[in-house]
Symmetry: C2
């Protein structure tokens, strides 16, 4: 059976066995338990993660101590603090595991090396980055335009599986409302 | 003197004269007057624009008829509806000129050709896409975390020139408040 990362990359570009082995040699494998961090606020993030199995959340704490969830991550998603990873600045967000998780990561240096040597991988990540940008743009449109109820329904429509895996209080922190407000809005 | 697009690209990658001529041959030059559109809602967008001179806004109209500004664009910025441009779906946004503007554009087909042939340009746009993604992520953090007053100050800090070029009612539409609310918040 094909490696799951190979299946994932081959949704965009096709690879020979040699090419995939070369790509994979730039990654490390890691297991994390529920509640463990992969990114902590204020550190310079040197790794981009790809989720083999598990569920994670990226979030930040505002000045009043309230947590806001920026993004969830599940199987086949890439996750890190991209601003810190790309600009080499302290991370504004933290990322931790909602479930026991199995991940692959690539360091900044290895990613630079790999994309410099393999135009195909530059193309792959360029495509992924564009798709990520579109998702963020739609999140902004939705924050500006939709009510909490509408944003809840959009999230449910887009990621039905998330609702079986993530506690309601985290859905509330993603939507930017209290747990109580969410309860009033939803069945 | 160097072409402004060459200066812009060479902030990230260096080019020979031949390479730049080859790149430029994929672009077309266009002038637009104030109030003219470069992207209209519901069309499939086939061009990405680079602003030589001028000021534009990307926006959408919600169900109640209220306009929300997603992004402003000025000299050296790339602008289009990226979801439509990349996924070939109808545009959710419109983009029009706040001032008379001079632009370069590249079609979807030419951009695909150019990036397939020149790893350097794939690299350039990959970098630009990452930076765009970071800007969007920060806009989300700010929408979730900051008050209108704080968001006004952040915008002023980040793009001081914008405030001399753009009417206050557009700043309000970007911040998601009424013109009256903005007046109460600002000097």
């Amino acid at each position: 059976m094909n490696h799951p990362l190979r299946q994932h990359i081959e949704e965009i570009i096709s690879l020979t066995d040699e090419e995939f082995d070369f790509i994979l040699s730039h990654f490390e494998h890691v297991k994390k338990r529920k509640h463990q961090y992969i990114v902590q606020e204020n550190e310079i993030v040197n790794k981009e993660y790809w989720i083999i199995k598990g569920c994670l959340k990226s979030y930040f704490i505002d000045d009043t101590g309230k947590a806001h969830i920026l993004q969830f991550g599940m199987e086949n998603w890439w996750i890190t603090d991209y601003e810190s990873f790309i600009k080499r600045t302290p991370s504004k967000t933290s990322i931790d595991c909602i479930e026991d998780s199995e991940l692959l990561y690539i360091t900044f240096e290895n990613r630079e090396k790999l994309t410099a040597q393999m135009h195909k991988m530059e193309r792959f990540w360029a495509k992924k980055s564009k798709v990520g940008r579109i998702a963020l743009q739609n999140r902004i449109l939705s924050l500006l335009k939709n009510s909490t109820k509408e944003r809840y329904n959009l999230l449910l429509e887009q990621y039905p599986k998330l609702f079986q895996r993530v506690p309601k209080k985290m859905i509330a922190a993603y939507l930017g409302v209290s747990r109580e407000t969410l309860s009033r809005l939803t069945p």
